[in-house]
Symmetry: C2
């Protein structure tokens, strides 16, 4: 297979971890005879620094014209702590998601056997947990109108959803549930929010087309509790953008480290793969960032293009790295391995 | 002291647990020579059933003219699963919060020694954790304009905040931090939301008036993770309405059961005390609901009126109940004690 892949390393630890993902894909390409052509482009704080724009036209065009996007991380404290900044790195990522129409963000959560004890949760709570979060990614309060009055004393964010936006991701989530344990949990705040009530109505109706899938509903406050109390009850979780952002970071504790979680963002035509962790600027350049999430997003990319055998080899390589404790210090505080070494181990294994 | 207390048992297990809170206050009144006069009124699904209105005029007037409100729980699945219901129980609670101006919801989180092992989190993670969440309660997406188009295919919720709304709760939170370990963590999503950026700006400025308090900021997705990874890092958490709703339910896992957590909702003139758990309709009338959260909200009421000695006796009584394992099945699956027995134990101890 020939794939043209846009690579956006982004900020902080982004470039370091993306490098390991690329190494993994190169190794897969060599062994399994695929040609992956990478083209790098700027996004995020680094793009602002160099061009004034967090998503330069050139980057967007590249992404629109490649088979897939591999993305690192975004964000820089110099923008976070300046509420008046007019241009912010995150705008680049949000614009990219919107322009590529990446409406479904898929985040699998499953603890590794060898890491069960790295989690703050007890072994018996997480052993056997295995669920996937479907987070709507191009709607809700992320993209609704924002206002700030002239005096800077009043602000607003509009959360909006249309039936169409809900429908397309809901079908994906139901289909995924059909291939799994056949349970879909819709998470919303339908006792308070009008958008949640629309979600509930649409999902209930679509559910009739999937009679083999058990559909249930949880309020988001309760869901945030249940994910910790009893994560095994979940199979597929479907939720709107902001709730999905919160719940998927929370759920990362089940695996022991957010440095292990990858995500795929899918649209009608495009697909983007990224670790769910952020830019972790304190770790930048220190060879301590965990590259596994980034490597796993490369595996999700392979799966997306039907290269299941190849993806499995990557999953196995990661499992071996964890089993042999070739991991970064987030997983083993006294580890002597860094970002590079973990990446080397994985690509050598392939 | 003479106090007139409005009692709103509400729905589901509300009436059962509120009864135990009342018994506690009666016992305190007798021993310490206070007169607590209770007046009951309807709110929630039960009020809809009887009057068509989740917050009847009479209930509101009563609450406006008493020293404090003791509230049980609200909600009924027959409304949750009907997105088209025009009147819903929760509207009663939201209207009451708004009309009484209860802008600050305060939720203390601290594990009990005897219950450390009841938490899904490991002992070493939660031992020593002790923080308080200040949740803004009368603003944000809960109260902004909601729309649904005529075809029922588009919905929106407006999240709004003004400097004034942010200011008043921020001062309360800083003052509380001054009396504690002098750290305040503001939780927001300032990399995406305009309202969060306003929060950050206002809180930053007010922070200058409290130089003895260490102020830091966390994005809500990261906060949802940190609360589980390392809850000991927190002292006072300050956040907006919906984030506070999610994070405080999540944080309940630290204590092993949401049936242990009480909250105080404060305004300029009024105060309301309630367990943070919901109406738990499946348990209604079965004498299995945990009354401790409700009893602890009575203790928070006592504290609010300066009755610290009395409040402490209630806290001690609850600790004894837990120590002697006079608890409901959420805390000890094979317990033979029910709602009533736990309540009896506490009031007898006083
Ligand atoms: C960086 C930020 C805008 C982003 C989000 O909130 O979507 C991140 O937290 C994520 O989950 O991908
Ligand atoms: C019942 C519901 C409207 C309420 C809320 O969301 O505020 C509850 O979850 C709470 O936290 O008090």
């Amino acid at each position: 297979m020939n794939l043209k892949i846009a690579v956006l390393p982004g900020d902080g630890i982004g470039p370091e971890v993306i490098l390991q993902a690329k190494k993994t894909l190169y190794a897969i390409g060599e062994v399994y005879n695929h040609e992956f052509v990478f083209e790098e482009a700027l996004m995020g704080a680094i793009a602002i620094d160099k061009t004034g724009n967090p998503l330069p036209e050139q980057t967007l065009n590249l992404c629109l014209n490649t088979d897939a996007v591999l993305f690192g991380a975004i964000g820089d404290p110099k923008y976070d702590n300046n509420p008046n900044a007019k241009v912010r790195p995150e705008q680049g990522l949000l614009k990219l998601r919107k322009e590529l129409g990446l409406f479904a963000n898929i985040r699998p959560i499953k603890p590794y056997k060898a890491l069960i004890d790295a989690s703050p949760l007890k072994r018996e709570i997480i052993e056997g947990a295995d669920f996937t979060i479907f987070r709507e990614l191009t709607g809700g309060a992320y993209f609704g109108a924002k206002t700030l009055n002239d005096e800077g004393t009043y602000a607003s964010d509009l959360c909006e959803y249309s039936e169409e936006e809900i429908t397309r991701i809901t079908h994906l989530a139901f289909k995924s549930a059909q291939n799994r344990r056949k349970k879909l949990t819709m998470v919303d705040k339908a006792n308070v929010l009008e958008t949640s009530r629309l979600w509930r109505k649409v999902v209930q109706k679509i559910g009739e087309e999937y009679p083999d899938v058990l559909l249930d509903f949880l309020f988001v406050d309760n869901a945030a509790m249940q994910i910790i109390l009893n994560p095994k009850q979940f199979d597929v979780i479907l939720t709107e953008n902001l709730f999905g952002d919160i719940l998927s970071d929370e759920a990362s504790v089940i695996t022991g480290s957010i440095g292990l979680l990858a995500s795929a963002s899918l649209g009608e035509k495009n697909a983007l793969f990224e670790p769910i962790h952020g830019s972790y600027p304190q770790a930048k350049g220190k060879n301590i960032a965990n590259p596994i999430a980034s490597i796993l997003s490369a595996a999700m990319l392979l799966e997306h293009f039907g290269l299941f055998k190849e993806a499995n080899v990557v999953y196995q390589a990661v499992e071996k790295a964890i089993e042999f404790q070739v991991v970064t210090t987030d997983l083993k505080p006294d580890s002597k391995f860094g970002t590079n070494e973990v990446g080397e181990f994985v690509s050598n294994f392939i």
